[in-house]
């Protein structure tokens, strides 16, 4: 399993340039925002957490559709399906590798980008924490979509309908926890705990559903 994790990491580093790319991507997205909303620093610092979360969502979505499709196209998926190792475990490890390669760099880079957005320390810390806890959920949800997409050559429609609505709660609780940390009346813990619960829930459901979809898609 460690072999699979390392291979997937290696692949994403080789083919796309690795963690640097993730951070760069994030920086680029964040740099684009002020052009749109204007250089109003107050406004920027207010929408900062939301922007960071949207950037993270986008980064997770890009390339997610190829998670299993690339394996299927070169025949590796067939071999993986045949192994004794439970498929759920294989999917879980692939998700973790995907997150490590594309989600984690974002989490690590987020404080820097928080500075760009003129956010204060508490907001930065809270956003980073929620990102750390929340982004894996997006990967797990995405894995289900990717697995379903592999199943139905013409089912991409289903994927988007499946992935984004499920990702919205993650986004909402992530963003509201980050805000709660800054604005006094709202308590930080409840949305944060819900976020953790969502992530744990999808960490179980996601690989299970994805493995089932992969099995039923093989032909």
């Amino acid at each position: 399993m460690i072999a699979l994790f390392l291979r997937d990491l290696k692949l994403s580093v080789r083919a796309g340039g690795g963690a640097l790319i993730g951070v760069l991507f994030f920086m680029t997205v964040v740099a684009v925002i002020p052009f749109g909303v204007g250089p109003d620093l107050n406004l920027l610092s207010r929408i900062g957490p939301a922007i960071l979360w949207i950037g993270a969502l986008l980064a997770c979505l890009l390339g997610l559709d190829r998670l299993f499709q690339a394996e299927r196209e070169d025949g590796s998926l067939d071999v993986m399906l045949m192994q004794e190792t439970p498929l759920v475990l294989t999917v879980l490890v692939k998700c973790l590798a995907h997150w490590t390669a594309s989600g984690l760099p974002l989490v690590i880079a987020s404080p820097l980008l928080g500075l760009f957005m003129n956010m204060n320390e508490v907001a930065i810390g809270a956003t980073m924490l929620t990102l750390l806890v929340g982004t894996p959920a997006i990967t797990f949800i995405g894995a289900v979509g990717a697995a379903v997409a592999v199943a139905l050559p013409r089912g991409g429609l289903l994927v988007s309908i499946l992935v984004l609505p499920l990702a919205i709660p993650v986004l909402i609780f992530g963003v509201s926890a980050a805000y709660a940390a800054v604005e006094d009346p709202a308590p930080f813990l409840p949305p944060f705990l819900i976020l953790i619960a969502i992530t744990l829930f999808f960490a179980v459901i996601g690989p299970l559903a994805a493995a089932a979809a992969l099995r039923s898609s093989s032909d």
């Binding site: 340039g17 760069l24 052009f35 204007g38 003129n118």
Partner: protein
Amino acid sequence: MSEQSLAIRKFSDLANPTRFIGLAERLLPWFSGLTALLFAVGLYLCFTTEGDYQQGETVRIMYVHVPAAWLSMMCYTVMALSALGTLVWRHPLADVSARAAAPIGACFTFLALVTGSLWGKPMWGAWWVWDARLTSVFVLFLMYLGLIALNRAMDDPGKAAKVSAILILVGFVNIPIIKFSVEWWNTLHQPASVLRLDGPAIDPEFLRPLLVMALAFTMLFLPCTSRPCATKSGAGG
């Protein structure tokens, strides 16, 4: 047509890799010495000229900031010329020099960004504002990093060179935007006062150290790019 190709052949003869290495090896020590000397003089001038009545001592940041900003743009311009060299004349040294220039350009841009924000805190009250000049320089920085990432991601050097040459040329639109952003949009940043069509409008007191520092930075750039050119073209054949 034939005249042109003859000229090109001559040009490539002059800059053929082995000759280039020889030349570079002979000149590099002199370059380094000269650069060191220029830096010494420049820094001396920087710290002996008196401060500005408005800005006080912070004006000295200018002596690093402005040359770094100039060179960040010049570096990209050199890369764009090299890119033309790669695409049009297919010169072997062109892509090596473009590749060598990218990290250096990124460094200069980074330096301009950092000194700019250091200067911005006392002058504007914020480390960073999203005005057109600042953002376009930031975009330049991102483009340098993107090019470096692209070069690292592609394993065939020949292909990487051509492909990034195309991208460099397309990205060149950013340079005029940086240069003229202060005139096209109303920004916080200073409009040009040295590199202007109607001559510099700056006190010679400040101009002198500035120009010396600029020259020193340029001299720093030359050996930085030509050394990798020499070694890489030597190794790559």
